[in-house]
């Protein structure tokens, strides 16, 4: 044990600046297309308005797009393509996606400005079959321009 150095624990106190994502129709259409959505409310403003929305509606999991942009548009990119700012200083950089928990608020529509804030909610290690496993829990909150929380996610990444 002892992979978690004081350096890694200090990293867990990092204050990440909030990131603003102005949601465009194209952003929504691209993600909808990539995930096989066919409902016109994601592509056609008229269809979205007919369904009672102000503009095209993002698919439910769109907050993921926002947080990935927040992590990868600026800063260092590591050799494997990970956003450097999200990687704790550890002897290994081999990452696996662990548990994800997301709760949802009002839908995101084109024209919204979504502010995502990020913090390290927890950092701990466990002994796995092939050595130490380090668990990094990141918490993301997504708030729109009316201060409504549109989503909250806790995402665990596992390093081995």
């Amino acid at each position: 044990m002892g992979v978690l150095t004081s350096e890694a624990r200090a990293w867990a106190e990092t204050e990440f600046p909030p990131y603003e994502f102005v949601v465009g129709r194209t952003d929504i259409a691209r993600f909808a297309r990539a995930t096989g959505e066919t409902d016109p409310i994601h592509f056609d403003p008229e269809a979205a308005r007919a369904a009672g929305h102000t503009d095209v509606v993002a698919p439910t999991m769109f907050p993921y797009v926002i947080r990935m942009h927040a992590s990868s548009l600026e800063g260092e990119i590591t050799e494997d393509g990970s956003p450097g700012g999200d990687v704790p200083p550890l002897p290994t950089t081999r990452a696996m996606a662990g548990e994800t928990e997301i709760s949802f608020g009002p839908p995101i529509v084109a024209g919204d400005t979504i502010t995502v804030t990020k913090r390290v909610a927890d950092l701990y290690e466990k002994e796995g079959r092939s050595g130490a496993l380090v668990f990094v829990e990141m918490e993301f909150t997504f708030t729109n321009q009316r201060d409504e929380m549109v989503a909250r996610e806790v995402f665990t990444r596992i390093y081995r």
Partner: protein
């Protein structure tokens, strides 16, 4: 609940990475994925499997209920070429909504992703 079968192609993997600005090489760079990370093939993104679980729940109940929360975790890697059967079952139903158990399973029976969802009835 009805199951949904998906076999994401290389183009699907690329579109998902591109639309999310997800730069991780194990989803598009086969030599890196095989030689550096020791996988047999490109990986189907964990979050894309999360999307499949969400879509499975919404396809079944989306007209009557909205997704309030979902949690999922990945038990085994899913690779390009794998077909994922996405489905689930009702755990509980109450006046406000329904709790679902969801999973994505490969043809050989390996469960790659498992999750739980809470949907609340629309007014």
């Amino acid at each position: 609940m009805p199951t949904r079968s998906v076999t994401p192609s290389e183009v699907d993997l690329f579109m998902f990475s591109a639309s999310a600005w997800l730069l991780h090489r194990i989803h598009y760079d086969r030599p890196f994925t095989v030689d550096h990370d020791g996988h047999p093939e490109l990986l189907i993104h964990g979050p894309l499997q999360g999307v499949y679980l969400v879509q499975t729940a919404e396809a079944w109940l989306g007209d009557d209920a909205t997704l309030e929360a979902i949690s999922y975790r990945h038990l085994s890697p899913a690779y390009l070429g794998d077909t994922l059967e996405c489905g689930g079952r009702v755990v509980t139903v109450d006046d406000d909504g329904v709790d679902l158990e969801l999973s994505a399973t490969k043809r050989d029976g390996t469960v790659t992703t498992t999750g739980r969802a809470r949907m609340t009835w629309r007014n």
